[in-house]
C-alpha cells in the first residue's frame, strides 16, 4: 500500500561480475541466484523497509558492469540518492578500477550523493584485497565502507538499512516535503533529497 514516507533511489555500480545483481536479489527477494547472467543495461527492483517506524521505499537500479553499457548506465547516476560502488574482494582488477568509477561518479552523479564502497564475496576463500585496504580507500574518498556476501546474506540487509537510515536523516534535516498519502508528489515524481540539485546539473 502506498503509505511510505520517503522514496530513495539507490544505484549500484562496479565492474562486471562483482555481484551487484546478487546483492540486489538477496536484499529484495531474499535469494541467491546461482547462475546469474550478466545484466544488460539496467535492472530495477523495489523494496520498502521500515526505519524508526516510518516506511521508506528504496528504488534500486542495478546497472550492467560491462563497458559497452556504460553510456546508458551513466544516465542513471544523475538522479540517484545513493551510489553503491561494489568490488570483488577476491579480484584485484575490480578494486583497481575504483578510481575510474569514482571519476565517472564525479562526472555524472549529483555531488551530494551518498557513496558507499562495498567489498563483496566475503565468503570466498581466495581473498586478494584485505579489509583494511578497502577501508583506507573508502576513508580517503569520503565513502562508507562495508564488506558483504550476497551468498551468505552477510551484511546485505545492513547495507541497505544503513543507507535508508542515512538518507532519511539527510532528508529530515533538510525538511524536504515528505510523501503524504493524498497530496503527495504526482506520478513518477518522487520526493527526494537533492532532487532539485540534480536537475540543475543537467
Amino acid at each position: 500500500m502506498e503509505d511510505y514516507k520517503f522514496l530513495f533511489k539507490v544505484v549500484l555500480v562496479g565492474n562486471a561480475g562483482v555481484g551487484k545483481t546478487c546483492l540486489v536479489r538477496r536484499f529484495t527477494q531474499g535469494l541467491f541466484p546461482p547462475g546469474q547472467g550478466a545484466t544488460i543495461g539496467v535492472d530495477f527492483m523495489i523494496k520498502t523497509v521500515e526505519v524508526d517506524g516510518e516506511k521508506v521505499k528504496l528504488q534500486i537500479w542495478d546497472t550492467a558492469g560491462q563497458e559497452r553499457f556504460r553510456s546508458i548506465t551513466q544516465s542513471y547516476y544523475r538522479s540517484a540518492h545513493a551510489l553503491i560502488l561494489v568490488y570483488d574482494i577476491s579480484c584485484q582488477p575490480t578494486f583497481d578500477c575504483l578510481p575510474d568509477w569514482l571519476r565517472e561518479i564525479e562526472e555524472y552523479a549529483n555531488n551530494k550523493v551518498l557513496r558507499i564502497l562495498v567489498g563483496n564475496k566475503t565468503d570466498r576463500e581466495d581473498r586478494e584485497i584485505p579489509r583494511h585496504i578497502g577501508e583506507d580507500f573508502a576513508q580517503r574518498h569520503g565513502m562508507y565502507f562495508l564488506e558483504t556476501s550476497a551468498k551468505e546474506a552477510e551484511n546485505v540487509e545492513r547495507l541497505f538499512m544503513e543507507i535508508a537510515v542515512e538518507l532519511m536523516e539527510q532528508a529530515k534535516c533538510k525538511e524536504l516535503p515528505k510523501y503524504d498519502g493524498s497530496l503527495g508528489p504526482i506520478n513518477g515524481k518522487t520526493t527526494s533529497v537533492g532532487d532539485s540539485g540534480c536537475c540543475l546539473r543537467s
Binding site: 500500500m1 502506498e2 527477494q29 547472467g37 550478466a38 545484466t39 544488460i40 543495461g41 539496467v42 535492472d43 530495477f44 527492483m45 523495489i46 528504488q59 537500479w61 550492467a64 563497458e67 559497452r68 553499457f69 556504460r70 553510456s71 546508458i72 551513466q74 544516465s75 542513471y76 544523475r78 538522479s79 493524498s182 504526482i186 506520478n187 513518477g188 515524481k189 518522487t190 543537467s202
Partner: protein
C-alpha cells in the same frame, strides 16, 4: 438504499462521512457490515469486481460506474484514488486477477472521461501504472505499459505542469534491456519497454509544459535503448519511406518497433534537438564498437536521414563529420582507431547523398570544406603507408563524390572550383611529399565530383578560372598527378561516353562505334577562346621527360575526345596543327627517349586517323591509310599500340630516319582543301613551341596566364617563329626537318613538280620552326654545348635578338591567319627575353 443515498447526496454530512470512511481502508471492517454506509462511488467501484477474478470485470456494473463518473466528474479523483488503493492492496497480496480488473476499469474510465476532467483522474491512473511497473511480474509490467500507451494516445487539452515522467523513462529503458530467461517473455517485456518509450515521447514532445524529453538525461536512456533493440535484428533492411506501419509485423518484433520509434523520435526533433539525439547515437556506436563492421551504423544513419525533417539533414552529416576523428574507447591502439575512422567515413559516404538533395547555400560548401579538411588531416597523418588510412581517404573521397552527385550541376562546378583552389601548387618552390600526396588526393576528389557532372556545354563546364587552374596543375611534376588531371579532363569533356573506347591509341576507329555529334556554336566560341590554352598545355604535357606510358595515353584520350567533341571545320586546322607540332617535337625534342618518340609518333598517327571519322575528310583518310600501311610494313613501332619499352632500334628505324613515314603538312593541307576545308591556318607554322623542358613552371604559368585570359593580339600581323633562314643554317646540331628536299617520298616529288619555289619557301619556314623549337625545347646546357665550339654565342644571340626586335616591322610573310597565330607571335618577343635571361648574363 435510497434513504442512504439521499442522505449522502445532500448536506455536509457527506464530506465528514466520506473522510471517515476513507480512513477505514481495511476491507474486512467495511465490506460486509457497513457497505450501506460507504459513499456511493466506493460502492460502485467495489461492485465492478467479481467474486472470483476469473469472471472478469462485471460489465453492467462497470457501465454504472462510467455513467456515474460522467455525470459527476468531480468524483473522478476519488474514484481513481480508491481504485488505486484497492489495486495496491491486491498487488501486495499477489491477487493479480483483481489487479488486472482494476487496471481495465481505469482504462475504460480514462477513455470515457472528457478531456477537461481528465486531469483529475490521470494522477491516480499514472500512480497505478507506476505501481504495476514496480512489480517484478512481467505480466503486470506489460499490462501497465499497455495502459500507459493508451493514455499516451489521448490528446489532452489542459496543461499538466506538475507531471513528470522520469520514472517512466528510466523504467521503460530498463525494460528495453530485459534479460528475462524466457525468450518469448523477454521479447514481450522489451516490446512493452519500447512501446512505453514511444508513449512518453508522444506525450511529452508536443507539450512544452511538461518535461523536456530532449534533455540529455532522457535521451541518454531512450536512444541507446532503442538502438540496443535495433541491433539485435538479424538483418538490416533500410526502408526509405516514412510509412513503417505498412510493413507486416512492425508491432511484433522489438527491432522493428524500436526502429519505428526512432524514426518517430527523429522525425519530431526540431533543429535544436537533433544534436541531443545524435550525441547518444554516436556514443552508443563507440561504446558497443559498432563502427567496424559498420552495417548497423549505416542502417541506423540511413534511418535517421530518412526520417529527419529534410531541412535539418545536413546537421546529421555535420555531426558525423565532427565525430570522424573522435576517440572511441579503443583509442589507445592507433590502428584500430584508423579503422574506426575509415568505417565512420564510409557511413558518411552512405548518408551524405541523402542530405545533398536538401542542402543549400553555405551548408554545401561547409560540408565540402569539412571533408577536405579531414582529407588534409589524413594526409598529414599518413607518414607510414597504412592501408586503413588509405581506406579512410577513399571513403572520404567517396563521400565527396556521393554528395556532389546529388547536387545540381551548377553547384558541382562551384565545388570543383573550390576543390581545385585547395590543391597545393607544387610548382613554386619545392613540393614536399605530403604536398604531392595531398595534390593527388584532392585531384582524386575532383575526379570523383567531375564524374558526377554531366557536361552539356563546354563553356559551362570550364569557366575560365577553373580551366586555368586545371591547366596549371597539368604541369605538375608527378607523372601520376598529371595522369589524374587528364582523367578529370576526360570526364568533363566526354559527353558521349566515348572515353572508355579511346583509352588506348588505335588506328581502327571504325569498329569502336564512336558517338559523334556536331558541335554547337557555344562550343566553337569556347574553343576559339580557350582552345589554344588547352592545346598548348597538352602539347607541353607530351614533351615531359618524366612521362610514363600512362601519361601519353591519357593525353591521347584527351585529344581524341577534343577531336570528337569539337569536330567542326573551324577547329580541324587547330587540331591538325597541334598534331603536326607533336610529330615535330617527337623528332626534335632532345629530352625524349626513343620509346617516347615512338609513342608520340603512334599517338600522332592515331589522332590523324581519328579525324576522318568525325568529319567528312575522305582524302585525309586515304592519305593516313597510306602512311599507316607503309608504317605497318616498315616501322610497326611507329603505330599503336603503345609499348612501355621498344626493343633496341637500329639507327635506320629511328623515327627521325624515316621522314617519308611522317605526316606531311603539305599533304594534309591538300587533303583538307580537297574536302573543302579552309587550310590556310595550317600552313602557317606551328605556334606550339612553348617547350616545357626548361624552367617549366615559370614559363608554363606565364603562357597559361596569357592564353587563359584571352589576351587578344593587338598586332594583326602574323608571324611564324622568327629566325632567319641564315641563322638556321648556321645553327649546328639542330635536327633537319624530315621534309627536306632530299626526301624521296611520293609527296615530296609531287610537290617538287608542282611548285618548287613555294615549297622551298615553306621549307625554309619549317626549318625556322625547327630551329626555333630546338632553342625553345632543348635544355640550356645542351644548347650551350652545341653552340659553343663554333660560335661566340653572345654575338649569335645578339643577332637573334636584333632580328626579333626588327621582326614586327617586317611585312607579314606567308599566309595570313587569325586566332591562335597572332598569339603565337605575341609570345615570341618575351619568349626570349623572359625565358633566357641567363643568356644575357652569359
Amino acid at each position: 438504499m435510497s434513504f442512504v443515498k439521499c442522505c449522502f447526496e445532500s448536506g455536509e454530512g457527506h464530506d465528514f462521512l466520506d473522510s471517515f470512511v476513507q480512513k477505514c481502508t481495511d476491507p474486512g471492517c467495511c465490506c460486509g457490515c457497513c457497505s450501506a454506509l460507504r459513499p456511493r462511488y466506493k460502492r460502485l467501484v467495489d461492485n465492478i469486481f467479481p467474486a472470483s477474478p476469473q469472471d472478469g470485470l462485471v460489465k453492467s456494473n462497470m457501465e454504472k460506474l462510467t455513467f456515474y463518473s460522467l455525470s459527476s466528474p468531480e468524483k473522478l479523483d476519488r474514484i481513481g484514488e480508491y481504485l488505486f488503493q484497492k489495486a495496491s492492496r491486491d498487488i501486495y497480496r499477489r491477487r493479480h486477477g483483481f489487479v488486472i480488473i482494476a487496471m481495465e476499469a481505469m482504462d475504460q474510465l480514462l477513455l470515457a472521461c472528457h478531456s477537461q476532467t481528465l486531469n483529475l483522474f490521470v494522477e491516480s491512473f499514472l500512480k497505478m501504472v507506476q505501481k504495476l511497473l514496480e512489480s517484478t511480474d512481467p505480466q503486470l509490467q506489460i499490462l501497465a505499459t499497455q495502459s500507459f500507451v493508451r493514455f499516451a494516445n489521448i490528446e489532452e487539452d489542459t496543461p499538466s505542469y506538475h507531471r513528470r515522467y522520469d520514472f517512466f523513462v528510466s523504467k521503460f529503458s530498463a525494460m528495453c534491456h530485459s534479460n528475462h530467461s524466457d525468450a518469448a517473455t523477454r521479447d514481450k517485456i522489451r516490446l512493452a519497454g519500447i512501446q512505453g518509450l514511444q508513449g512518453v515521447i508522444r506525450k511529452t514532445v508536443s507539450d512544452d509544459l511538461v518535461e523536456n524529453i530532449w534533455e540529455a538525461q532522457h535521451m541518454d536512456k531512450i536512444v541507446p535503448s532503442l538502438l540496443y533493440n535495433m541491433q539485435t535484428a538479424e538483418k538490416y533492411e533500410t526502408v526509405s519511406c516514412m510509412e513503417t506501419d505498412t510493413r507486416d509485423g512492425a508491432e511484433e518484433s522489438p527491432p522493428r518497433l524500436a526502429e519505428a520509434c526512432l524514426r518517430e523520435l527523429v522525425g519530431r526533433a526540431s533543429f535544436g534537438h537533433i544534436r541531443s539525439v545524435l550525441r547518444p547515437v554516436l556514443t552508443h556506436f563507440d561504446r558497443h564498437e559498432l563502427w567496424v563492421p559498420n552495417d548497423f551504423a549505416v542502417h541506423t544513419f540511413k534511418i535517421i536521414m530518412f526520417s529527419i525533417q529534410a531541412q535539418y539533414s545536413y546537421s546529421v552529416v555535420e555531426a558525423l563529420m565532427q565525430h570522424l576523428d573522435a576517440a572511441g574507447p579503443g583509442a589507445s591502439d592507433p590502428r584500430s582507431r584508423t579503422r574506426v575512422r575509415a568505417a565512420r567515413a564510409a557511413v558518411l559516404s552512405n548518408i551524405v547523398a541523402i542530405a545533398a538533395g536538401d542542402s543549400v547555400g553555405p551548408s554545401v560548401l561547409e560540408i565540402i570544406n569539412n571533408l577536405l579538411t579531414n582529407l588534409r588531416a589524413s594526409v598529414a597523418r599518413d607518414s607510414e603507408k597504412e592501408t586503413d588510412e588509405k581506406l579512410y581517404q577513399e571513403a572520404l573521397i567517396n563521400a565527396l563524390g556521393e554528395f556532389a552527385d546529388h547536387l545540381p550541376d551548377f553547384q558541382k562546378i562551384d565545388i570543383m572550383m573550390f576543390i581545385i583552389s585547395k590543391v597545393p601548387s607544387s610548382q613554386r618552390g619545392k613540393s614536399t611529399k605530403a604536398d604531392a600526396m595531398l595534390q593527388t588526393i584532392l585531384l582524386k576528389s575532383l575526379l570523383k565530383v567531375g564524374t558526377t557532372y554531366k557536361t552539356t556545354e563546354l563553356s559551362k563546364a570550364f569557366p575560365a578560372a577553373f580551366l586555368e587552374a586545371l591547366l596549371r596543375v597539368s604541369g605538375a611534376s608527378e607523372p601520376g598527378t598529371r595522369a589524374l588531371l587528364q582523367r578529370i579532363l576526360h570526364t568533363l569533356l566526354d559527353r558521349h561516353s566515348n572515353a572508355p573506347l579511346l583509352h588506348t591509341p588505335t588506328v581502327d576507329y571504325a569498329e569502336l562505334g564512336l558517338t559523334v555529334e556536331k558541335c554547337s556554336r557555344q562550343d566553337l566560341i569556347f574553343v576559339s577562346k580557350h582552345g589554344y590554352a588547352i592545346f598548348s598545355s597538352l602539347y607541353d604535357g607530351l614533351q615531359l621527360e618524366s612521362n610514363t606510358l600512362e601519361n601519353v595515353e591519357a593525353i591521347y584520350t584527351t585529344l581524341a575526345l577534343l577531336c570528337i567533341e569539337l569536330a567542326s571545320e573551324e577547329t580541324v586546322c587547330d587540331i591538325l596543327q597541334l598534331i603536326l607540332a607533336v610529330q615535330q617535337s617527337a623528332l626534335s625534342n632532345p629530352v625524349l627517349s626513343v620509346a617516347g618518340q615512338c609513342q608520340l609518333q603512334a599517338v600522332v598517327v592515331s589522332l590523324t586517323a581519328l579525324l576522318p571519322h568525325v568529319m567528312p575528310l575522305m582524302k585525309l583518310d586515304d592519305y593516313i591509310r597510306k602512311i599507316i600501311d607503309s608504317r605497318s610494313s616498315e616501322a610497326p613501332h611507329l603505330l599503336p599500340p603503345l609499348r612501355r619499352e621498344y626493343p633496341q632500334l637500329a639507327p635506320a628505324d629511328m623515327p627521325s630516319s624515316l621522314p617519308y613515314l611522317m605526316i606531311d603538312q603539305m599533304a594534309v593541307c591538300e587533303c583538307l582543301k580537297a574536302s573543302g576545308v579552309e587550310s590556310a591556318r595550317l600552313q602557317a607554322a606551328s605556334p606550339y613551341a612553348g617547350g616545357a623542358t626548361l624552367s617549366l613552371a615559370h614559363r608554363h604559368s606565364w603562357v597559361e596566364a596569357g592564353a587563359a585570359q584571352g589576351r587578344d593580339s593587338l598586332a594583326d600581323i602574323t608571324a611564324g617563329p622568327v629566325l632567319e633562314p641564315d641563322s638556321a643554317n648556321s645553327s649546328p646540331g639542330v635536327q633537319r626537318h624530315p621534309m627536306q628536299a632530299e626526301s624521296v617520298s611520293l609527296e615530296a616529288l609531287r610537290r617538287a613538280a608542282g611548285g618548287p619555289t613555294e615549297a622551298e619557301k615553306r621549307e625554309a619556314e619549317r626549318r625556322k620552326a625547327t630551329l626555333n623549337n630546338a632553342f625553345r625545347t632543348a635544355p640550356f646546357q645542351h644548347l650551350r654545348e652545341i653552340t659553343q665550339p663554333k660560335y661566340e654565342i653572345k654575338d649569335k644571340l645578339e643577332e637573334i635578338f636584333n632580328s626579333i626586335s626588327e621582326e614586327p616591322l617586317l611585312p607579314a610573310s606567308g599566309s595570313c591567319s587569325p586566332g591562335g597565330q597572332t598569339k603565337s607571335y605575341q609570345q615570341h618577343v618575351p619568349a626570349y627575353t623572359k625565358y633566357f635571361p641567363e643568356l644575357f648574363l652569359y
